[in-house]
């Protein structure tokens, strides 16, 4: 059994209102020096019998919207 860890994030240049709000919240806790916060999605897919290309296709077709989002993933054994 394999595990794909998939990270979907908003593209650079796309305003992330959630990130902006979270940044303000962090700062309100007294932390200084926060440059930027971006909020994204994390997904885990457990699978068998598929290759890397299939995961790539899933990201392209469904899991990320290429107009606003980037994605990356890593594949490893289920531990």
């Amino acid at each position: 059994m394999l595990l794909a860890k998939i990270y979907v994030t908003l593209k650079k240049g796309v305003l992330d209102p959630q990130g902006v709000t979270v940044k303000k919240a962090i700062e309100s806790l007294g932390y200084k020096g926060i440059e930027d916060v971006r909020v994204g999605k994390y997904m885990e897919i457990k699978f068998d019998g598929l290759n890397k290309d299939a995961i790539e296709q899933m990201c392209e077709r469904l899991l990320a919207n290429p107009v606003i989002e980037d994605y990356r993933f890593e594949i490893g054994e289920v531990t």
Binding site: L10, G13, Q18, T21, L63, N65, V67, I68
Partner: protein, 233 residues
């Protein structure tokens, strides 16, 4: 004239659209279940508002793979009129029928209120009985209505007169202050290059009867009726 209103799991403005067509405009109208892959015999198909598939992953991201979308693609390619309202607009974007994408509203809130929008193009099947610069009083109700397209795409939309509505003040000024959700260029509705597919965030089906506060939504349906009646298809 025959209309179809698509029903996805989680659609909730389907009944409003049906009501308006049937009872306000006395039209023949069918619900079309999302598993239907053949959509034939219709003049205009509406993708209604709601929360198809619970808005999981992204709004419209799952609904776009419904069987019915294959039929709608064929219908639209033949020049059939498709109107996506709110979640329907989001589905059209995810399906790539219209360019761009929706982001979470800038203030992160679900916004449910009346806004004013300015008609930018009165030459479309959906706006032909109104006039450019006319301001419509119409409700919005969404969490992801912050329309995004990159600079090049926005320029192209503007150049081709594909922006149909913009959020504006009552006197038609499109400023940041009257942009409810952060949409780029105050965009509230766009059409495809061919002009037969319109996506809009505001809900015309919620304002076609005086007792509901505004009748401004009527112009969309009346425009479509006139367009179809003229046989300009």
């Amino acid at each position: 004239m025959k209309w179809g209103v698509v029903v996805f799991p989680g659609s909730n403005c389907d009944h409003d659209c049906y009501w308006v067509l049937k009872h306000v405009f006395a039209q023949e109208v069918d619900y079309i279940w999302h598993k239907e892959s053949r959509v034939e015999g219709y003049d205009c198909i509406i993708l209604p508002g709601g929360f198809s598939y619970g808005d999981y992953l992204r709004t419209g991201a799952i609904a776009r793979f419904s069987k019915v979308m294959l039929g709608i693609e064929k219908f639209a390619n033949r020049g059939g009129l498709v109107l996506g309202i709110c979640n329907g607009f989001q589905i059209l974007l995810e399906a790539g029928f219209l360019p761009g994408a929706m982001l979470r509203n800038k203030n992160l809130n679900f916004i449910c209120k009346y806004v004013t929008i300015r008609v930018e193009n009165d030459q479309t099947p959906f706006t032909n009985i109104t006039s450019q610069d006319r301001v419509l009083n119409i409700p919005i109700a969404h969490m992801e209505g912050n329309y995004y397209a990159d600079k090049t795409m926005v320029e192209e939309l503007n150049r081709n007169n594909q922006v149909i509505f913009r959020y504006s003040s009552i006197d038609g000024r499109c400023t940041n202050e009257v942009n409810p959700n952060g949409s780029v260029d105050n965009i509230a509705g766009i059409c495809n290059r061919e002009g037969n597919i319109l996506g809009m965030m505001p809900h015309p089906e919620r304002c076609t009867e005086k007792r509901l506060g505004s009748e401004d939504g009527k112009v969309i349906f009346e425009s479509i009726l006139r367009w179809l009646g003229n046989g300009v298809r």
